[in-house]
């Protein structure tokens, strides 16, 4: 059975510093929620509050509709996977996995059956008699997962479980975690600083910053409609280009004039970004353009909301499937993602084409989406 989780005005202070500043969050049973944010934003603390490894300063934590503020971790029907795996070094893999069942006095044959099931599922059945020190990083990761899975709790908590793995293994394990979730259907709360992990795994993402949740929505919404500059800048790699500028009108059309731009470059807001309220002349704004919405002119069929401009290429960064072109507008570095065959040489003038239909507009003072 999967349980929902509700956080109700949760606050947490360590000494005089407030780390969690009033968080409300409602997680449905069976959801895969990723808490993502830069280091120090409070995401791991929030997970520890759900686990009961930290006590809330104020507010309520509810698991399965029950207030668990005063319930110790072992009685919350949760299991947790830690960043450092936290395997018990003196116990064998088998004893690591069954420890939780031992302390709960699960009958021996039930323990064996559960162990056999999950060891097979995670492909660690040949490692059961080894000590954690004799395992590779990926194997330790699997054992840590096995230890969490075997008890079949209502909620799984993951604290940056993949950050100690090398890149290739991380992608493999990411897929496996997603498969496991689809198969078991348990509620998962997953902490990471890796926005790609967040995008790929989550049914919903909570973007955290400085003790607050900035936005809680499904991955597509987070990516396509970020509520503010922080969310827009955090999600996406390379990050969204942020162009500070001023609004002006001409012939019934709204334009953004980039600050400090010597070239005659002005971005027409003819997509949804130009439909907002209060787009008055002279208003200070930030124009957000994702790198993949800027490409080589003529590389794709021209759509309705295209804007063409020319700028010299400063740096060329091939990644394989795409090539990043770094150029400047108003002294600020911007990145365009182009097809490798369209790449130019550094220093050469290049004709860029922007899909203004995907442009985002933010208020320069508040950072809020307009």
């Amino acid at each position: 059975m999967a349980s929902g989780i509700r956080l109700d005005k949760v606050r947490k202070s360590f000494g005089g510093t407030e780390v969690i500043k009033g968080v409300d969050l409602e997680i449905e049973p069976g959801e895969f929620v990723v808490l993502v944010g830069p280091s120090g934003c409070g995401k791991s603390t929030l997970l520890n509050l759900i686990a009961g490894l930290e006590t809330v300063t104020s507010g309520n934590v509810l698991i399965g509709g029950q207030n668990v503020n005063r319930v110790p971790p072992r009685d919350r029907d949760i299991a947790m996977v830690f960043q450092s795996y936290a395997l018990y070094p003196t116990r064998t893999v088998r004893a690591n996995i069954t420890f939780g069942m031992e302390t709960r006095r699960v009958p021996k044959d039930a323990q064996e059956a559960a162990l056999a099931d999950f060891a097979k599922l995670l492909q660690i059945d040949h490692l059961l008699d080894r000590k954690p020190g004799q395992l590779s990083g990926g194997q330790r990761q699997r054992v840590a997962m096995g230890r969490a899975l075997v008890r079949q709790p209502a909620v799984f908590l993951f604290d940056e479980p993949l950050s100690n793995l090398d890149a290739k293994l991380r992608i493999e394990m990411r897929t496996e975690i997603k498969k496991l979730h689809q198969r078991l259907g348990k509620t998962v709360v997953y902490v990471t600083h890796d926005q790609i992990e967040a995008m790929t795994l989550a049914t919903r993402i909570a973007v955290m910053d400085n003790g607050h949740i900035r936005q809680f929505a499904d991955p597509a919404t987070i990516y396509e409609n970020p509520v503010d500059l922080f969310v827009a800048g955090f999600m996406g790699s390379p990050p969204m280009n942020m162009i500070p500028g001023r609004l002006f009108h001409e012939n019934g059309q709204v334009f953004v004039l980039p600050r400090g731009a010597r070239e005659r470059i002005r971005f027409p807001l003819d997509g949804p970004a130009g439909q907002g309220e209060g787009l008055t002349d002279g208003r200070e704004v930030v124009l957000g353009l994702r790198p993949e919405t800027i490409f080589a002119a003529g590389a794709k069929l021209p759509g309705p909301n295209r804007y063409l401009f020319e700028a010299p290429v400063e740096v060329v960064e091939p990644t394989g499937p795409d090539t990043m072109l770094v150029f400047q507008i108003g002294g600020q570095d911007l990145v365009a993602r182009v097809r490798p065959e369209d790449a130019a040489t550094p220093g050469a003038a290049f004709r860029f084409e922007v899909d203004m239909g995907k442009a985002k507009l933010f208020d320069a003072d508040t950072g809020r989406s307009l």
């Binding site: 949760i78 299991a79 936290a86 420890f99």
Partner: protein, 297 residues
């Protein structure tokens, strides 16, 4: 922990370097001799007969090896008015040192665990105060301790001495274990909490088995301290309950009869053997554990 090989490092060669190396080993050899010399004198004197000691030089090798002095020191030398040798007092020391070492090590481990893994407000102050205990000169506590033992009805007994050594050993054992546990990941304790184990469950089933190096270091340290202690032994025990160190003093410092150097030497070696044995058996662990604690603390 795997020992890192350093013997593959490229060294300077040539006559100058070779000369320096020879010089290095000569100096090391001299220091070694200087250090081992007293032991040689003790061992060789203990197997000589009294006549040979009187006639010959104390540097000379024994002409004939005899273990009579050893037998006497162990079984029939006079300690005060009792002439049963060191044996009963040696047993006193064993009866005192073994429980005192085990108790102070276990309690120190528990302290270190609570101070690092179940942190409470004021934990650092408590630790600082305990550390202070490591620097108190023991002469200061003799009188209050004597009074306490008297009130508890333990004055002049081996259990009384066990209590004293356990209490005054706690400062060091707590320090050793705290510094070891501070290097143990909190995640392991958190994982065990989520897995359903409590304070003592985590301590005995997860944390204590992990701390074998710290246990070895602490046991060696405590055993050496407690076995070699003279001050508490002479202050808090009387006659039959004396530890071997006090008895040794009584054998050697006797003012009556002939001075039996061979028996004195044998008795001193007997009194020192257990600590020597512990060092030899667990010496490798000792060095490894000390440096591990130093790095992690």
């Amino acid at each position: 922990m795997r020992a890192r090989r350093t013997d593959g490092i490229v060294r300077a060669s040539g006559p100058g370097a070779r000369l320096l190396r020879v010089l290095l080993f000569v100096v090391l050899g001299l220091f070694c001799l200087y250090y081992l010399f007293p032991l040689f004198v003790m061992v060789s004197t203990s197997v000589k007969s009294l006549a040979e000691i009187r006639e010959g030089s104390f540097l000379a090798l024994p002409r004939a090896i005899s273990f009579e002095a050893w037998a006497k020191a162990w079984g029939s030398a006079c300690v005060g008015v009792r002439c049963d040798g060191l044996q009963p007092y040696f047993m006193n020391s064993v009866m005192m040192a073994v429980p005192a070492v085990l108790l102070s090590t276990l309690l120190g481990a528990l302290n270190g665990y609570a101070l690092t893994k179940w942190r409470f407000p004021g934990a650092d102050i408590v630790f600082a105060l305990m550390l202070f205990g490591a620097f108190i000169p023991f002469q200061v506590v003799l009188l209050p301790m004597a009074r306490t033992l008297g009130q508890l009805g333990l004055a002049g007994t081996v259990p009384g001495l066990i209590l004293v050594h356990t209490v005054y050993g706690l400062a060091f054992t707590t320090l050793f274990f705290r510094n070891f546990f501070i290097g143990v990941s909190d995640g392991i304790v958190n994982a065990a909490k989520v897995d359903g184990a409590g304070f003592f469950g985590i301590f005995f089933r997860i944390v204590l088995p992990m701390s074998l190096p710290a246990i070895v270091v602490t046991v060696i340290w405590q055993f050496t301290q407690i076995w070699n202690d003279f001050l508490f032994g002479v202050s808090f025990t009387v006659g039959d309950s004396n530890p071997v160190t006090v008895a040794l003093n009584n054998v050697v410092n006797t003012s009556t009869g002939v001075k039996e150097y061979n028996v004195d030497m044998a008795a001193a070696i007997i009194a020192g053997l257990p600590t020597l044995l512990v060092y030899v058996v667990a010496g490798a662990y000792f060095v490894r554990g000390l440096s591990a604690g130093a790095v992690k603390g």
